[in-house]
Structures are given as structure tokens and as C-alpha cells.
């Protein structure tokens, strides 16, 4: 009887934890989109107001923001500072790959961030401002969508895990 009760608890607990982790991903995506938007605002100011060279601007932005968002900027800064003939676009794309491994951003979010790679640093300050303003606006829209998904998806995953666990237990019994 003891083992049976333990097994039921483990199955429901396991499925529940999986569901909670899925639900937490929704929250993290919203947080990361917000952090990314703020970080891009910081980077934009570094570029358009103080004309900081891109490698240093990325480095400063990495210090300004939190992980995992900072991974994108730190990787970009490190690659550019290494001075091995890499372009800003290539450094940005490598940074995005690193970010993708550790973040909750979805493919759509990452594609949006990837869209600025070719233009990064390679125009005057006014053009750079346009690029960053557009990207921030698009990220804001993604963030709103992510918030909507959080409302519905969070409950579904959080409760869904426990419910699924219970169903499995019932089927096994």
C-alpha cells in the first residue's frame, strides 16, 4: 500500500512539475522580451547619443541587462573585441545562437532579433535609431502576444500537468 501511494504521488508530482515548468516558460518569455526591449533601448542610446563603438556598446549593454538576455550582447562584444575580422552581423547571429540555448524566447522572437543583424552598426546614427525603434516596437507587440499567451497557457500548463498525472494514475489503476 505504501509503495502504491508513493508511486501515485511520484507520477502526479512528476507530471505536475513538468506542467509547472512549462507554465514558468510563459512567464520567462514575457520577462525576457521585456528585458530585451529595454536592453535594445540602452544599446540604441549608446549608439545614437554617445557614438560608442559597437563592441564597447554591446559590452556595456551586457552589463546593463540580466541573463539570459545578456548572453546575446556579451557574445557579440567578445567576438568583435577578439578582432578576428568578424562582422557585426556575424557576431550578432552567433550571440543569438547562444541566447537560443538558454532562453525561453520562441523562433518568432529570435527571427525578429535576427532581422537587424545585417544593419547593425553599418549606417549613420539616424538610420541606426530607426532600426532599433522598429525592432523595439516589434518586440513590444511580441510581448503583448506573449502576455495573452501567458494568461491562457499558464493555467493550462500549470493545472494540465497535475490533471495529466491524475489521468495516468487512473489508467494504471
Amino acid at each position: 500500500m505504501f509503495f502504491k501511494t508513493m508511486g501515485i504521488a511520484l507520477i502526479i508530482g512528476g507530471f505536475g512539475a513538468f506542467g509547472l515548468s512549462g507554465a514558468r516558460r510563459f512567464e520567462r518569455r514575457v520577462d525576457e522580451l521585456k528585458n530585451m526591449r529595454l536592453a535594445l533601448g540602452f544599446l540604441e542610446k549608446e549608439i545614437t547619443c554617445t557614438y560608442t563603438p559597437l563592441s564597447r556598446a554591446l559590452d556595456r549593454t551586457a552589463v546593463f541587462c540580466e541573463k539570459p538576455v545578456s548572453l546575446l550582447f556579451q557574445e557579440g562584444a567578445d567576438l568583435l573585441q577578439a578582432g578576428e575580422g568578424i562582422t557585426a552581423g556575424e557576431a550578432w547571429r552567433k550571440g543569438l545562437k547562444k541566447l537560443a540555448r538558454d532562453s525561453s524566447l520562441n523562433d518568432g522572437d529570435l527571427q525578429l532579433l535576427n532581422s537587424v543583424a545585417a544593419q547593425l552598426g553599418m549606417s549613420d546614427a539616424k538610420e541606426q535609431k530607426k532600426v532599433f525603434n522598429l525592432l523595439q516596437e516589434e518586440l513590444r507587440m511580441q510581448e503583448e502576444k506573449a502576455r495573452d499567451e501567458l494568461k491562457s497557457g499558464h493555467k493550462l500548463w500549470a493545472y494540465g500537468g497535475f490533471i495529466m498525472g491524475s489521468v495516468v494514475v487512473l489508467l494504471l489503476i
Binding site: 560608442t52 563592441s55 575580422g85 557585426a88 547593425l120 553599418m122
Partner: protein, 318 residues
């Protein structure tokens, strides 16, 4: 004149080039490096090197060739990567330089830019879609102006006299002006040191990078980098108490007015001007006016007869 050796080329120039071009340039011999004056990248055209007085290209094996159509053809990617490296991937930080048509890199080497020019009204706003880059290698030839010092410092050696360096392009006038600044600022037993101001409108004399001179212009030299000549001379006069002002390539009416003001204030002006000889100079109204004021007491005429920096003639007007 000695030039840039291979080590210097590797250290100061090659890091800016895209990998295929860098690879080819690495094959240059020491002799060619010493005479290398320009590296030109034009989109869709062969890589061109000016070595001494001749144009060469590098073929796919990195060998120098005078048949320029056998050379490595520069692609858009080469230009893009090179401009990205020159600007540290930050073209926005070089808006003023791009507007002027060149970027000076560490070491004082100048990169001329060509591409699509964007206008705002009648003024150049910026340049985009770069199609050509021209690396002009900065040369520092110490003591090349040593023989001019006794003329410029006059008999007593206590004051310098206003001097005009007359020279066609590529005869070494910038190199000689730079060395004069250095020699005057260091001084010697015979000639006391001077406070020198270089008004370096095109960042060529001192080769400044981020405001810091990259070439040796002496311990008593102030550099007004990227400053219009006429304004710079007046600024220097008011704030830097110079004994000598050195500037390159005068020719506008406002330059004449500023020189006159410096001369009236007792400050010596040493400048250069584009011309092959005095007759050619006299044909230009602005220069004729300047010469008629008798502001300059000495003219040094350069040519390439025995290579850059050859002193063809020295004319005294006092």
C-alpha cells in the same frame, strides 16, 4: 625615402582587410613593402598596389604583376568586410569622417572612401554603399627636413621665417612638413626649440586617430585635428601661443586672411601649396595676392627628380 616594412604592414594595415585580400598581401616581399604607397580596392576591379611609381596587382598566388587584369578581383564582400573592420563595425561613429571622404586609422594611415553620396540640400550628408577604398600609407621619414632648418631658422636661429613649400602631388610635402614640426619642436644646440601648432585639416600631418597624433610631431607640438585651416590658425593664435604654425595645402581666400593675421602677430607660418613651380603659383589669383603681401620670405620647391622629397630649388624673398 624609406617606407613601410612587412612587420608594420602586418601589424597596422592587414588587420583591416578581408581574409582573401589579407592572404594575398601577406605574400608581399620586404622590398615591395618598403616602397608600398597605396592599396586600392574597387568593387569588381583588380586589387591595385602602388609600389614606388608603378601600379601592380597581386595574382591568385600572391605574386606581383604589372598586368593588372591578371589580378585578384575585389568583390562586394571584400569591401563590406574591410569597411566594417576600419570602422570597428560602427559606421555611425565616423559620420564626420565619412562626410569628409576618409577615415584615419591607428598608425595615421588614411583610408579614402567612394560610394553613393547622400545629400541634404546642397551639403554632403553621408556616403553609403561603398564601392572603393584607397589605403594611403602614412610615412614618417625622420630628418628628411634637416637640410631646410638653417634656411627656415634664419641667421640668428631665434625665430623661424614664413616658408612656403611648393610641390606637385606625391612629392613628399606632407612628410617634410611633419618632419619640420618635429625638428622645430625638439630643437637642437644650434636652434632653440619652438612651440609648434599643426592645423591638420585632413588628419594627414600628424595622422591623428581619435585625436591623438600617431606620428612623431615633437614634444612641443599641439595638433588641431580635422580643423579647417583658417579657423585653426586663428584659434591657435588666440589660445595656444605658438611660435610656429604649420598647415598643409593652403589655397582659399580665408587661408590668406588667416596667414596675414598670424604674420601680423609675429607667428611664423610654414605651409605647403600644390604647384610645380613659382610661375604656376603666380597664375592663381588667391596665391598671387598672398605672394604680393610678402608674407612668405622663403619658398622651397620640391620634385620627384630623385624620388619623393627632392629639393628642387630654394627661393628667398627677403
Amino acid at each position: 625615402m624609406p617606407g613601410l616594412g612587412k612587420e608594420l604592414l602586418k601589424r597596422e594595415i592587414l588587420p583591416f582587410f578581408a581574409q582573401p585580400v589579407k592572404h594575398l598581401l601577406l605574400g608581399l616581399g620586404e622590398d615591395s613593402c618598403l616602397l608600398l604607397e597605396e592599396i586600392r580596392l574597387r568593387c569588381g576591379q583588380p586589387l591595385l598596389l602602388k609600389v614606388g611609381d608603378r601600379d601592380y596587382t597581386l595574382d591568385s598566388r600572391g605574386r606581383l604583376s604589372t598586368d593588372i587584369f591578371s589580378g585578384y578581383v575585389i568583390g562586394e564582400e571584400d569591401i563590406y568586410r574591410t569597411i566594417a573592420a576600419i570602422s570597428d563595425n560602427s559606421l555611425y561613429a565616423f559620420e564626420e569622417e565619412i562626410r569628409r571622404g576618409f577615415i584615419t586609422v591607428a598608425g595615421g594611415h588614411r583610408v579614402g572612401l567612394a560610394g553613393q553620396v547622400v545629400l541634404q540640400g546642397e551639403l554632403v550628408k553621408t556616403m553609403k554603399d561603398f564601392s572603393s577604398l584607397c589605403f594611403r600609407i602614412a610615412r614618417e621619414v625622420k630628418d628628411c627636413a634637416l637640410s631646410l632648418l638653417p634656411y627656415i631658422n634664419g641667421g640668428s636661429g631665434r625665430t623661424s621665417i614664413n616658408t612656403l613649400i611648393i610641390s606637385p602631388p606625391r612629392c613628399g610635402k606632407t612628410t617634410i612638413l611633419r618632419d619640420l614640426a618635429r625638428l622645430l619642436a625638439y630643437g637642437s644646440q644650434r636652434f632653440p626649440a619652438r612651440n609648434v601648432v599643426i592645423v591638420d585639416e585632413r588628419s594627414e600631418l600628424a595622422g591623428s586617430y581619435r585625436g591623438i597624433p600617431q606620428l612623431d610631431v615633437g614634444p612641443r607640438t599641439d595638433v588641431l585635428d580635422a580643423c579647417p585651416k583658417a579657423q585653426g590658425m586663428i584659434m591657435a593664435l588666440r589660445s595656444l601661443s605658438p611660435q610656429v604654425i604649420i598647415t598643409d595645402e593652403i589655397g582659399r581666400q580665408e587661408d590668406v586672411t588667416a596667414i596675414q593675421e598670424c604674420v601680423n602677430a609675429g607667428v611664423a607660418v610654414i605651409s605647403s601649396v600644390h604647384a610645380s613651380n613659382l610661375d604656376e603659383l603666380q597664375k592663381r589669383p588667391v596665391m598671387r595676392e598672398l605672394l604680393s603681401t610678402q608674407a612668405f620670405k622663403l619658398a622651397v620647391i620640391l620634385s620627384r627628380q630623385n624620388g619623393p622629397g627632392h629639393i628642387q630649388d630654394i627661393v628667398r624673398w627677403d
